[in-house]
């Protein structure tokens, strides 16, 4: 493995780790405050118990998210010093605001976790809302920094020099809105289905059914709404990409030759050498329509671009198929859930719960796949059309060791956190409700 590959893998690995914790840290507080609100309203002790156990989850995930995030903020510089030297001042604005949002979140969390019976009930509940809102705000801000890498703006560039820097324009780059919207929905979908799946499992096992049903309902309501909106927002993203990053779009669709009325390929095995996609399902003219809203529009193929700006086509294509496949599935299940509210008999059926157990990891798989589309699809650029990834990497040799260290460390952490969560649920089931 050469240095560049090791650095790329390390970045990918640590980001894919962080994003799971970040999403949960971003979304769980919302579940928590809903449960908390219901406790304040109904004084049903089940809700208090649920709130308190979710709050422990939030604390554990928040810290794991925070330390992996701290590592990331160093890592951007440690791995890509050339990138940060030029990009730092330009995209510093979202990052400094993000710093502020994190701070607010940490302060509010301090109040929330330690404030039971110490501060007024209303204010205590309100600090929970602040935790949630500032979490989402920080998520949106980081994604906007990522949007800038896809759609660089807010500076002039000539002969390797960045001048005329306008941080506000960089923050509000052309990609920020579609990406932030899609990402926020994704966080709710992924976390919601995961949490709902865990509680569905407990219901299937007949443990504390009343409590877990309440928990399930809170989580899945958020998830279902987000999952239904997700494909709409994904369509917006795709239309955006078609204009801004046609190479990425072509790679996502494994679309090699420029055509009018381009067909959409679903699935299929890509052979990059022969530029052939076998075993696919072909929907005529659908790609032109999806990308431009016109069945006969011309869609640029990969062959229109020089070979050295092609990303890895198979990876991007497969990842995109995974995301869209799961997205469609989750949308359908989201609709089914709302139907189930009218048909209570479904809730007695084990198959209903089994469905949600199987779906538990799907949201996160789609989310990681989506990031692979965005990030691998941007290659070979670290800043689209401006700076190549290979020119940004650290000159320090031996990055492989650093990569292995992170793999070991984070794998252990992932196992530890999973184990802790299992114990959390176990103790929830063992204890009696007051």
């Amino acid at each position: 493995m050469d240095n560049l590959d090791a650095a790329r893998l390390q970045m990918a690995f640590t980001l894919m780790f962080h994003i799971v914790f970040a999403c949960i840290g971003m979304v769980m507080p919302f579940f928590m405050i809903i449960a908390h609100r219901k406790w304040l309203k109904t004084r049903n002790p089940i809700y208090l118990k649920l709130t308190k156990s979710w709050q422990k989850g939030v604390a554990i995930f928040f810290v794991t998210g925070a330390v992996s995030g701290t590592a990331l903020s160093f890592e951007l510089g440690l791995l890509w010093p050339e990138f940060m030297k030029h990009a730092g001042p330009i995209i510093g604005m979202p990052f400094s605001l993000e710093g502020a949002a994190f701070f607010v979140e940490a302060i509010a969390l301090g109040f929330y976790l330690y404030g039971w019976d110490k501060i007024s009930e209303k204010f205590h509940w309100f600090t929970g809302i602040i935790v949630g809102v500032s979490g989402v705000a920080s998520g949106i801000l980081v994604v906007s920094a990522n949007g800038w890498m896809n759609a660089p703006s807010g500076f002039d560039y000539a002969n390797g020099v960045f001048s005329n820097i306008d941080p506000v324009k960089a923050l509000l780059n052309p990609a920020w809105f579609t990406q932030a919207l899609h990402m926020t929905l994704a966080a709710f979908t992924a976390t919601g289905f995961a949490v709902a799946g865990i509680h569905a499992f407990q219901i299937l096992k007949n443990r504390q059914v009343e409590l877990h049903k309440k928990a399930f309902k809170i989580a899945i309501t958020f998830a279902a709404i987000a999952a239904i909106l997700q494909p709409l927002s994904g369509d917006l993203s795709a239309k955006d990409i078609a204009k801004r990053q046609p190479v990425k779009l072509a790679a996502m669709e494994a679309h090699y030759d420029t055509t009018k009325g381009a067909p959409l390929y679903i699935g299929g095995i890509v052979d990059d050498e022969t530029q052939n996609v076998s075993y696919k399902i072909k929907i005529p003219k659908a790609l032109s329509f999806l990308a431009f809203g016109d069945f006969n529009a011309e869609v640029k193929g990969l062959n229109d671009f020089p070979e050295d700006v092609h990303p890895n086509v198979p990876i991007v294509h497969y990842a995109f198929q995974i995301m869209v496949g799961i997205g469609t599935l989750l949308m359908i299940v989201g609709i089914l859930f709302f139907i189930s509210l009218k048909r209570k008999s479904w809730w007695q059926n084990n198959k209903f719960w089994l469905l949600f157990i199987v779906l538990a990891p799907m949201g996160f798989i789609a989310l990681e796949a989506g990031w692979v589309v965005t990030e691998v699809g941007r290659q070979p650029w670290i800043i689209h059309n401006i700076m190549r990834t290979k020119d940004a990497v650290t000159p320090m040799p031996g990055m492989v060791f650093s990569f292995y260290m992170y793999v070991i460390l984070y794998s252990i952490l992932a196992i530890a956190v999973t184990w802790l969560m299992a114990r959390q649920i176990k103790s929830l089931n063992n204890s009696k409700i007051a």
Binding site: K56, A59, I60, F62, V63, T64, A66, V67, S68, T70, A71, S73, F74, E75, G77, L78, P81, E82, K85, G88, P89, I90, G92, M93, F95, S96, L97, G99, A100, F102, F103, V104, A106, I107, A108, L109, G110, F111, L113, Y114, G115, K118, I119, S163, I165, D166, P167, V168, T394, P395, M396, P397, S402, M405, L409, A416, L420, R423, Q424, L428
Partner: protein
């Protein structure tokens, strides 16, 4: 505007050293306590530091963000040449953070606690040492800015931080943290445990002085530019002198157990020492083998600095009152009780 940014940078650095320092130090005290002492220390740490623990550590993120936005060239040099110690600091921060949460939030209290405890204590010691070594390397003059063929991996990426001077600075910083923590804990312990922390505070204080002396002496005899500047600077001498004088009222107030005064004095003492270092430092925050990196000259363009400054002011206006309120609500700053 650049001075607004620089002040935020300095304040964040001071707060990080004081707050996170005390926090690291608490772990170090736990490490160097008897078995029974460890248990009480663990409980006290949780009670005192728990609510603000997260907020304490965000200062370093603020520092990093200010550096990369406002002073990209400076940040670039550190991240390239001090890659290894910074990675080790991160490793320490990660292990420490998770073990702190694991040991307090695990649903069952069983044997696994032993593992979390040791992880917490050891990383509490290692992190400030490497952090201090990183600070030391920035001024040791060992970083080679423009390496040529004769330089090896060792001389470029390891030599700059793995040297006696940096190690002394690392140990100095760790003992400083311990000192801060012991003063903090004195105020929080009951009569019986009192004596224990008073003793710890003394030992830590002596270690700080010995280590500080070692750093100065070593730098002086090896003719390190930073140290010779330091010794020649009248400001630095006055500040260090003042902080040395504070030892007397401090010892007295520790004995008397007036916790507000002790904390205040200890804090002031550390701030004075840091200010002395910063003043000698400024504006050449990096001293390398082939020159210095001037913080002001390598700053970003005025427009960027302006936006950064405004973000910091707005952010500060939102955050500081909240933080203050948090510390007050949970009785972190005892001085506030009187207000």
């Amino acid at each position: 505007m650049i001075y607004v940014v620089l002040s935020f940078l300095m304040i964040s650095l001071l707060l990080y050293v004081l707050l996170a320092g005390a926090d690291f130090g608490a772990g170090i005290i736990e490490l160097f306590s008897s078995r029974k002492g460890r248990d009480t220390t663990k409980k006290t740490i949780y009670r005192v530091i728990g609510p603000v623990w997260e907020a304490n550590h965000i200062w370093i993120i603020i520092i990093v963000v200010i550096l990369w936005v406002g002073f990209p060239e400076f940040y670039n040099v550190i991240t390239v040449y001090l890659h290894i110690p910074l990675t080790l600091v991160l490793l320490g921060i990660t292990l420490r953070g998770v073990s702190f949460v694991f040991r307090h939030y695990d649903a069952f209290k069983d044997k696994s606690q032993i593992l979390y405890d040791w992880m917490f204590r050891l990383s509490s010691l290692i992190t400030p040492i490497f952090l201090g070594m990183t600070f030391g390397s920035m001024i040791s003059g060992e970083i080679i800015l423009n390496p040529d063929e004769t330089d090896t991996f060792y001389s470029i990426f390891i030599g700059p931080w793995l040297n006696w001077f940096s190690i002394f600075v690392g140990l100095f910083f760790a003992s400083l943290c311990t000192f801060l923590a012991s003063v903090l804990l004195i105020g929080e312990s009951n009569k019986n445990e009192h004596q224990r922390y008073v003793l710890k505070a003394r030992i830590a204080n002596i270690t700080v002085i010995v280590m500080g002396f070692l750093v100065l002496a070593f730098g002086y005899f090896n003719n390190l530019k930073f140290i010779t500047n330091f010794i020649k600077s009248p400001y630095a001498i006055v500040l260090v002198g003042l902080s040395a004088l504070l030892i007397f009222p401090l010892t007295h107030s520790i004995k008397k157990a007036t916790r507000i005064k002790s904390r205040f004095l200890a804090g002031v003492q550390v701030v004075l020492i840091l200010l002395a270092a910063i003043i000698t430092h400024y504006p050449n925050l990096l001293i390398t083998s082939d020159g210095t990196v001037n913080l002001v000259e390598t700053a970003s363009t005025p427009k960027v600095i302006q936006v950064l400054g405004i973000s910091l002011i707005v952010g500060g206006a939102v955050i500081l009152p909240g933080l203050f309120h948090l510390m007050k609500s949970f009785k972190m700053i005892k001085i506030l009780e009187k207000l």
